[in-house]
């Protein structure tokens, strides 16, 4: 059990950091949509629309680190299996 918790903590940390880095290491808050700019050729105005896109931010990273600490901390309170043989 102790080992499982430690592995889970590591997976959560790697998963969170990996996702954050892979999606562009956004240093702002998590975004669920992204601006898309299109140029109107007649007026020269740059139109702005939003398309759904998940861009994890520092809050996502913080939740991941917190989860890692909780799992890692919990593993400290679980006794290791002792082999009596």
């Amino acid at each position: 059990m102790k080992r499982i918790l430690k592995i889970l903590a590591l997976l959560v940390l790697l998963g969170t950091a990996g996702t954050w880095l892979a999606t562009g290491a956004n240093r702002g808050w998590t975004k669920t949509s992204q601006q898309v700019k299109t140029l109107d050729p007649v007026t020269g105005i740059e139109g702005i629309t939003y398309e759904p896109k998940f861009l994890p931010g520092v809050d996502f990273l913080a939740v991941g680190v917190f989860g890692t600490l909780v799992l890692g901390g919990a593993s400290l309170f679980v006794r290791s299996k002792t082999n009596n043989h």
Binding site: G28, W29, T32, Q35, D40, V42, T43, I45, G57
Partner: protein, 206 residues
């Protein structure tokens, strides 16, 4: 005065009046293509907030031969203000910030247009008017650039004929003056808001 002279004079006056009326056009800024937008930026020491609004309506009366006579009103639907973070958007629309339910419109009504300069189809000048945000109205003056695109409406909307007027303006307001959390959270939400308006209006010809 003979009757024939009176008829000729009436004809001339009617002709002049028709020409004057024809020169003045009313541009509708409700964009069928949904391109018109107002961009807002708040750059605080700890956080930068960028967003835009698309719900733009209003009319501008513009005479390309007398640009200084410009009048009009532009309205932005508060509900259309958008930021990419859903929680931030909820806060922005909420009662503590813009309170979009109570104050559904942000508007600008022109009063005067000064320092007008025209080069080709581009007119620049300083427009003064009443800017209303969250129920608070203040008189502001901002530089504006107008581009008159004669007979270009069909290039944008093939089924319609007419002219286009592109209006661009950049100005800064202080949120404290509009009772938007005055003096609060200034490290995260900048007290100054940079606004950038890029909109096109159409004057449809029958």
């Amino acid at each position: 005065m003979k009757l024939s002279h009176l008829i000729v004079l009436t004809g001339l006056l009617t002709s002049v009046a028709t020409r004057l009326q024809a020169a003045t056009e009313t541009f509708d800024f409700k964009d069928p293509k949904g391109v018109n937008n107002a961009v807002f930026k708040l750059d605080a020491p700890l956080e930068s907030i960028n967003g835009s609004a698309s719900g733009i309506t209003g009319t501008v009366v513009f005479d390309p031969e007398n640009p200084g006579a410009l009048t009009g009103k532009i309205v932005v639907a508060s509900e259309s203000l958008m930021v990419p973070n859903p929680l931030q958007k909820e806060h922005l629309h909420g009662t503590n910030w813009l309170d979009v339910t109570t104050y559904p419109e942000i508007s600008f009504v022109s009063k005067s247009f000064a320092n007008v300069q025209t080069a080709g189809n581009v007119t620049t000048g300083d427009i003064t008017g009443t800017f209303t945000l969250k129920g608070v109205s203040k008189e502001i003056t901002t530089p504006v650039k107008l581009t008159y695109l004669k007979d270009k409406l069909s290039a944008r909307v093939p089924s319609l004929k007419g002219d286009l007027l592109v209006l661009r303006a950049n100005f800064t307001i202080n949120r404290e003056e509009y009772n938007i959390q005055p003096g609060q959270y200034e490290d995260k939400v900048s007290p100054t808001i940079d606004l950038s308006l890029s909109i096109a209006g159409a004057a449809i010809q029958p």
